[in-house]
Each structure stands twice: as structure tokens, then as C-alpha cells.
Symmetry: C4
Subunit: 219 residues, 4 copies
């Protein structure tokens, strides 16, 4: 469990990460993280350039969106982040982008099958696409929750994508891998219709990736 200041640094790094990976331009997109013990969410300020963002610029709010700390207004997407945090205790970090390849697939308004072992690895099933909803009320948060299943990312038709994970860093990773596989899938779709991997094959890759991959698990 990181301290609040460690979380601040991790949320800041996730915001920088989506910018450096080319998932956002100017000041579109945002990343947040939650301190469950204190009930505080840290999120990017609205309309601020990534290049100028410092850790101290992040805005801290409670789960009802009341500002607790910070001189700036929070991202206008804060309500969607809060809605997801309130309904999914396992989620500790959220990223929202309009990354080009993911958003172009989202414009097709259907989920992306597991064509690639990398989709099986990270997403474990087809990547879901929620139908278009407007930003008002809990529309976006509810659509994400309804469609996410076990996938760490959801496409939003006509809009973009949300990615999540146990930590802001995991959410960043899901967002980067989403755009990476979306690019490969997009390229392949231009050359013909690929066939998805069979479900039992998807399961094998997913299980390996979530049991023996990396340094932390089973270490």
C-alpha cells in the first residue's frame, strides 16, 4: 500500500506515461488513482498540458467529488472515474484516452475479438465496446461497468477508451497495450478478415500471463 505521496507520484507518472506513449495530445485524456484508506482520489487538472504537469498540480477529491486538496479544477471526466471506483473495489487506477487506433475501432461500435496472443495475454477475452452515451450523470461510468467484464479496458463508441488496473501503473499498461493491439488489429483488418483465436487457446495465454509472467507473482 503506497503512501498518499507515493500514490501522487504514481498518478503523475501515469499521466506522463499516456502522453509519452502518444495516447493523448495537448491536454486530452487523464489518469487517476485512489487511496482507499483515506477515501481520496487523485486526478489530472482540467485542460492542463502534460508537459507542464507537476505532481503537486494533481487534484485530490473525496469519492463524492468534493475537492480536498489542490489549486486547480479537476478533470471534467472525474465523475466517470468516481463512479468506477465506487463500484469496483479491486480497481486502484484509471486511464481515459482518445488514442487513435482504439478510438477508430470504437467507431465501429463492436467488441474486438482476441485475434492475437497479446490480446489473450492482457485482456483474456474480446475487448468490449460500450455503445455511445453522453457524459451527463453516470452514463459513462455505468456503461463502462456494464461492459467491462474481466477486461482491463473498454472502448466507448464515438468517443475513446477507459483502462483500469489494481494501480495507476497497471491502468497505464492496459491503455498502452490496448492501443498497441488496436494498431495491429486495424492493420490486419485492412488486408482481410482475420480469424479470432479459439476460446480454449485464449485461456491458455491468459492463464500463463496471469500466473507465471513478471516478477511479482509467484516470486
Amino acid at each position: 500500500m503506497p503512501s498518499f505521496e507515493e500514490l501522487r507520484r504514481e498518478v503523475w507518472e501515469a499521466n506522463l506515461g499516456i502522453f509519452r506513449a502518444g495516447l493523448v495530445t495537448m491536454h486530452s485524456g487523464n489518469a487517476s488513482g485512489i487511496d482507499r484508506k483515506r477515501g481520496l482520489v487523485l486526478i489530472k487538472p482540467s485542460g492542463m498540458d502534460y508537459e507542464k504537469l507537476r505532481p503537486s498540480d494533481l487534484v485530490a477529491t473525496d469519492l463524492d467529488g468534493r475537492k480536498v486538496k489542490g489549486r486547480w479544477k479537476p478533470s471534467v471526466d472525474l465523475p466517470h472515474h468516481l463512479h468506477i471506483y465506487k463500484h469496483r473495489n479491486d480497481i486502484g487506477g484509471i486511464v481515459h484516452t482518445h488514442s487513435n487506433f482504439a478510438t477508430s475501432l470504437a467507431l465501429r461500435d463492436r467488441s474486438v475479438p482476441a485475434y492475437l496472443t497479446a490480446i489473450a495475454d492482457e485482456f483474456g477475452e474480446e475487448i468490449p465496446c460500450a455503445p455511445y452515451v453522453v457524459y451527463l450523470g453516470d452514463h459513462i461510468g455505468a456503461a463502462v461497468l456494464k461492459y467491462m467484464g474481466n477486461s482491463p479496458a473498454v472502448l466507448l463508441a464515438h468517443h475513446g477508451a477507459f483502462a483500469f488496473g489494481a494501480t495507476p501503473r497497471d491502468a497505464l499498461k492496459a491503455a498502452v497495450m490496448l492501443e498497441d493491439v488496436a494498431k495491429t488489429v486495424h492493420l490486419a483488418l485492412q488486408l482481410g478478415q482475420p480469424k479470432p483465436l479459439p476460446p480454449e487457446e485464449v485461456r491458455k495465454w491468459y492463464e500463463r500471463y496471469h500466473t507465471t509472467y513478471g516478477q511479482k507473482k509467484n516470486a
Copy 2:
């Protein structure tokens, strides 16, 4: 209201900005800004590399294009900038590029519908495309004025794009977002024909973006 030297710095940053965002190569494209009080326009010199451009290299002219300050010749596109500044008092910065995705859409010679919430946010309607005109006289400036409507950017068929805003920085942002949404739209068009958002939905996103988004408004 920035001082003339502050404006010079902002115009220089807008020129660097289009280069760093990959909207221009070598020395194509240009950014300008206007000091309405002094009646002076600052613009990139003709045919100069972005990498070597210093703030002092910018050329200052009056609204009739007479050089007031600077050792270089101004961009050959200066007359188009001047024409727009003369007819639109609300515009304080202009950017011209041949950015690849926007220009490829411009080659289709028709406007780009609001397929994406990001188009609704920034452009508020479909992005207009002016038909081909040559550079002579006021042809380009007049075509931009005729087609711009409320959009902060206009495509020019067979040519490129102009973007504008209250400041050079706003014009830079419109140019970057134009290329970003043009890329996503281009990708989506390769996979089928997306449907535009209904006008009433476009209005909702546009209104939020222009009232509650960012730090300056309603602060």
C-alpha cells in the same frame, strides 16, 4: 493582453509547436499572431528551418504587409493571414500546415462530419473544407472566411489546413487536434463508413467543453 515581446514568444512557441507535433517538415507551414493595439502581425520567415528559428527571426509587418521589424522576408503565406486578421477581429493567432491526415481528408474535397466526441468538443460541428483555390490575390483568405463558420479550422482541398484561435496558442491547439481527429477519422473510414453523432449530441459536448472545461473559464 500580452506585450509585444510576450506575443513574439508565443508566436515562436506556436511555430515550434507545429514542428514538434509533426504537423510540418523541413520548413513547410507557419504560425502567426497579431497585436491588435499596435496593428502588428508577427509571422515566421519564409523557408527557414524550425530547428534554427529564434524568436528574433520572426518578421513583424503591419496589416498591409509592410515589414516593420526583422531581417528576413516573411512567409509567402502572409497575405492569407492578413486577410483573415482584417476580417475577423476575434482571431489573434493563425496556423497553416500540410499535416498528413488533415490534408488527405482535404483531398476528398468535402467536410468532415462530427463522428467523434473530440470533434464535437473542439470544432462544434463538421470540420469544413474549402474547395481548391490558388494562392493569388485574396483567394485563400476569402475561401477560409467563407467556409470557416464557427470551426477553429478549415481544410483546403488539394492543399492543407488553416487553424485559428483567440491566441497563437489556441490556434496551435486547434491545428494539433485537427490532425489528431483527422487521423482517427481516416483510420475509421478504412474499416467502413462511420455514422456522425446527432446534432443535439454534438451540441452537448461542445457546450461542456466551452463552459466547464479548463482552468480559465468560470474560475
Copy 3:
């Protein structure tokens, strides 16, 4: 013949190389090298960011995959690397990636003809594509061996690519050139069906490239 520490540096540079060339994101992919005299393989640790990787983080194992040196777990792809090293004494370096253009071609599940002189130069024949296999046992290693022929790279359907060479640096070069020609071929396929070069022309380019090109040979 480099010393073990020189090999460590070269394997580290090959891992950095695939990251800097954009062939991998986050911590996908991996590069390895073998010290035939000592019977030791050096490979990237599992799930570690390229940006944080130091030479000392590489894991050394014997040819049966038993860890000899290093604090981390080796890449989960180690068995595939070992299988190739055991069966091909001429191979001293291996790279595995999911690079976008190569992987999108791999999704078509067929080899890539020598459309370009650059394919003739580096690959000497069409670039083979192995059909989909799961990661279990020696499936991937065996598929690579079965399909590689004389090509320094093999596509893996639904998955990605393996590239190899006499050294880790040669493997890096094959991986970079694979993605480069895959991009050009992909672009061309969007505009129509190109014709492959005739085999006798392919042979001419390959022979020049492997006899008179570069500084080391015939020096």
C-alpha cells in the same frame, strides 16, 4: 568472440534497440544472446520495463534453462530461445517482438514474397510464416526451426515474430528490417497486389548484400 561481459552489454543493447526502434511497448518482447564456450544464455527478465533495464538485470541460464546468475526470473519465452540455440549452432542472438506491421502480416498466416530489393537483401527469399502454435512445450521453438529456412526472421501467425543472427546485434538488425519491410509491404498491399521480384533477381541482391556490403566481409 566477445567475453561474457561484452556479450552482456550486447544483449542489453539489443533489448534497448528493439524498444527504441518502437518494436515493443511496455515490457513485451525480449532479446537474448549465447556464450557457446561457457554454454550460457543471457536474456531479459520477465515483465521488466525496457527503460529501467540495466545490463546487470539480465538473467544467465544454462541451455536447460537453469538460472546460473541474476536476481530476476527470466522471460517466459526463454524455452523458445533455448530450443533454437540448441538446434542451430550458427545462431548467437535471438529477438522476439510483436511489432505491429510484422504481426499484422502474420495474421494473414502466409509468407511474405520478396516484393522489395530490401527483402531480397536481408532475407534472400520470401519471409516465412509459421502457423499458430501455443507456447507450451517446444511448440514455438520447433515451429520457428521448421519454417525459418535461410531467413533471419520468421513470422508467427496470431502472435508476432522471431529474428536471429550470428550475434544479438545481427538479430536486432533482422528484427528492425523485418518491421521496416513489413510496413512498406503493408502499405503497398492497401493499394493493390504488388508482384514479387523474380527469384533470379532476388538472388542477385542477396549475393551482393552478403559479399560486398558492409565493412567486415572481404575487408
Copy 4:
């Protein structure tokens, strides 16, 4: 007229320029320049990484390809450069690349019409494409000469492109602009068949660009 050491620096910068602009990978491609007074050509060594290239690594030869200065072997493409220099006294710099978009258009084996004002500006006519020839004898040099017309660049079917200019820097510019317009044209061709600009319009843009554009001419 630059000194030989100034030319060396300019040739070195042109080689770095094609690498930084992403027109080449690893050690594909090359740039050269000629000192007409001394009858000496400076060119990149064969198979050397751009990142490691220093000005002193360039190889100087006479117009018959005999090495006059330098410790390395010259590029295997030297004979094509020499053939062009011998037959076109107005050319002082040459660049050869396999840049992706230009090469993908070259695979179609036909010239690229002036769809864009930027093509009219720089190329003044459609960009010619020479049919496939092998590297032997004077085949490539002769094909370039036969097809170049007044264009500062020629596509080579199944191969890549040559670009030229009065100086190595002009050749670099032609190579960068070739890839830039090739990208926009490629994108547009994916969305339908664009119409070329009428010849009289092409002429207007070309004339402006070659008379009033930039700082050196008519200064």
C-alpha cells in the same frame, strides 16, 4: 562554393538528416555530395550505423570511384551516385532511401500525379517512377537520369527513391518532402481516387516556390 571540409560537414548532416527524419533504419540509405572543383565525391561508408557516423568516417573518391581519402569502404551504391554526378553538372548532392511511403508508391510502378500543392511546389510535375532495374553496371544511374526530368526525386520500382539538388542539403529536403507527400497521397488513395491539379495550376505553385519563396532567391 563551400570548402571541402564544409562539404564534408554538409554531407554528414544530410546523412544524419535522413536518419532523424525516419527515412532510413539501421544502415540502409546514404547521402553524398560533390566538390566539382576538386572532382571529389564524399559518401557514407557501407553498412555503418547513422548513430555512430562522424564526419571523418565519410569516404572521398574520384569520379571513377577510386578511394582518395577515408578508412572505410564506400557505400555499395556509390556507382549510381557517380553516374548521376557525371551526367548532370547541376547536381551537387544526392540522397538514396527506402523510405516507407515513397517505396510503397514505387511498388505500383507508376508516377505520382501532382495531387497536392506541395507536390506542385517542390516537384513541379508528377513524381516519376523508373521501372525495376538491378544494381549492376550503370542500370540504376541510367534509369534515374532517363526518368528524372525536372523533378528533384525519382521513385525506383520494387526498390526505393533517389533525390537530388544543387547541394546535399537540397537533396535532403527533396527526400524529406518526397516521403511527406507520399504519405499524404497514400492516405488519400485509401479513401478513393483523388484528382490531380490541372497543369496550369501546378505551374503557378511551382513558379511562386521557385521565385519568391525562401530567403536566398531575389534577396
